[in-house]
Symmetry: none
Subunit: 202 residues, 4 copies
DNA sequence: GATGAATGAGTTTTCATTCAT
DNA sequence: GATGAATGAAAACTCATTCAT
């Protein structure tokens, strides 16, 4: 049951989802170490022990929450940007969506911004754990498409990915930890302007 | 005595520095919560209790270490870039130095990457905690100078700061947590090329 | 229903027996406290809750299993030794059978060895719990018969019982916990020789 | 500190001894699993955490207590029986002392009788753990001496050891768990009579 | 001032038992 | 009657912090 969520009944699945949702909420406010299982259980309206029917331990709950969250977000984004015709539009739309989605769900942005940075020891012990890999891979693919369709000049896709993701990530972290000190949408547009200018065709 | 390091004798000062150095080392490897005071004490070759003669508590040690670290780094950088003649050169040099310095001191880059992101609760409990504030302010000032000297087009300094710092931060994080998967210097130059292009005069 | 197994249908009885059998197996490997109800249930191929339809709680399951086990063993032994003509032969045969039976069922000897020794608190809470009482009483009766028929000299039956049972118990415990470090049958015969010599007619 | 008690100061040593004493007391009354560390700590008048300065964990505390107890008892016995002239007298004296010592310290006999029987899994995981090994080896040596000095007939020393230790062990277990249902000293003499008779020279 | 032994609050996790289906 | 998901009480253990030496 813990290894696979496919075998769960509808009722169990909704219970599992309630736990994941509560976990994201608590982890994002408290951080992993200060988050208490009993707090998550209370929010999810289950007993403490119930969490252990669905997840092996606290760390596994964090990882599962992270994985499902990024998977869901990415799927939703992919669906939305497909309405754009050119690869460049899709890339720009992706930037918009990233900011928009996280504006609507502040807990989520906190969760991703804070918990992304685990201790180096954590990464050494879990070499395969790469929560944002798909997300970043997807950005890179968008960039390659944009170059291929000749909308922007030829740049190193990895370098551009680092700029785009790093900037978005830091933008949202600053905005949320400093209590929204600037207009997120305006700032985003100024950033896009600079980056876009940096990659436009000569 | 704990609030102020000015009254300390030479011997005490070197003890305090040993503790800070050990703290950065341990925090950067373990993260704040998994770091043990006893481990820091052992590395600094002092007794556990001695740490509490210099710092109020573990959190205070983290904040102090962070502050002194960024202050030192910043001072060193300021000295070095002053040899550059134009503001633009100083900005570009700053980027170079940031990457170079952290390549030489991997623990430091880890430390910044980890400790930069505390939980919202942490920020609420430490309203004055504003890590990197001076660092970021300095970047912003460099940018304003560069615009003023007319070396680049007029962009929002805050926006460009977010791009520069966010990208540098993520670049170093990816490079260190993924075990140096690319040449740091080459990647840096590709990134600088894109950003520079994005802000060059039309 | 829990107190009495007489009202059970055939199907229920076989389910109850499966639980008892599984309980002996698990208790004998894990000891009482480390044995899990869920493990016993799995072995018996019933649901965890089903066990509570037949037994009040874990402790009651232990006591019931113990009682039935010794009862069954004792009945079987009584039947077998009745073929012996003299009381002395029956006593000697009993010793043989004890060793033989437990060689064939190692789980059972472990079970007896472990469960025989509960903590004083356990005995205080279960004043009626007197494991092996019938078994030991039976040995004592055999001894009395043997004295009565004048096959051995007059000794205190209780004392001889302690020797016989204590020796058998420790012999089997040493043999099983130390991984059969000696030939059980040969050792048994050497022991019988000594004890027999100690009680033979002067 | 945990590996070696030789480096401890006098004060620490007395604290360690207080913990061991309290542990024997609590383990012997409650058994290992129902014994609470907090209870042992309270009895020893130390904080819960202090126990972990001297022992790695609960199991290690049990093993340490067991080892030191048997070592102390054995040493005391060796000293005392050395006043006896013949090996046979030493063997008989040993039997006396065993019963006498445990009569004076009921908690100790409960501890040895109950905790000796760990679960088979415990022995599998700790193959080297053989708490009574020295004790039993010593009995065997006494027996060999007795045979050598020609005081008793030639019997298998291992077989006689099993009889002597098994009987003593069970005698004391019955006596203590059944609330002293007979005179221990009288029963002991009846037992010695039988065993002695069984091994006397023909 | 420096030490490090001692403290004890705090939290994850297990598992016997229950009860809705 | 049978099931097994859910419950929640209970306890070992850790580690920041204190304070007697």
């Amino acid at each position: 049951m813990k290894e696979n969520k496919k075998n769960l009944s509808g009722k169990q699945l909704s219970k599992r989802n309630a736990i994941i949702k509560a976990a994201i909420d608590v982890f994002s406010h408290k951080g992993f170490h200060k988050a208490k299982i009993s707090h998550i259980a209370k929010l999810a309206k289950v007993a403490d022990g119930t969490i252990y029917l669905y997840f092996n331990n606290k760390e596994n709950l964090l990882v599962s929450a992270f994985d499902e969250l990024t998977e869901n977000i990415l799927n939703e984004m992919k669906n939305t940007i497909n309405y754009e015709k050119t690869a460049l539009d899709r890339l720009l739309k992706f930037f918009d969506l990233h900011v928009e989605m996280f504006t609507k769900q502040p807990a989520v942005v906190r969760f991703l911004a804070i918990e992304l940075r685990q201790s180096p020891d954590f990464y050494e012990q879990h070499p395969s754990y790469n929560p944002l890999k798909e997300y970043i891979t997807f950005i890179e693919k968008l960039i390659i498409d944009t170059i291929t369709e000749n909308s922007i000049r030829v740049v190193d896709p990895k370098a551009l990915t680092l700029i785009i993701f790093g900037t978005m990530d830091f933008l949202l972290a600053e905005w949320s930890t400093k209590n929204q000190p600037f207009s997120l949408v305006e700032m985003k547009e100024k950033i896009v302007d600079i980056i876009h200018w940096g990659i436009r065709k000569g």
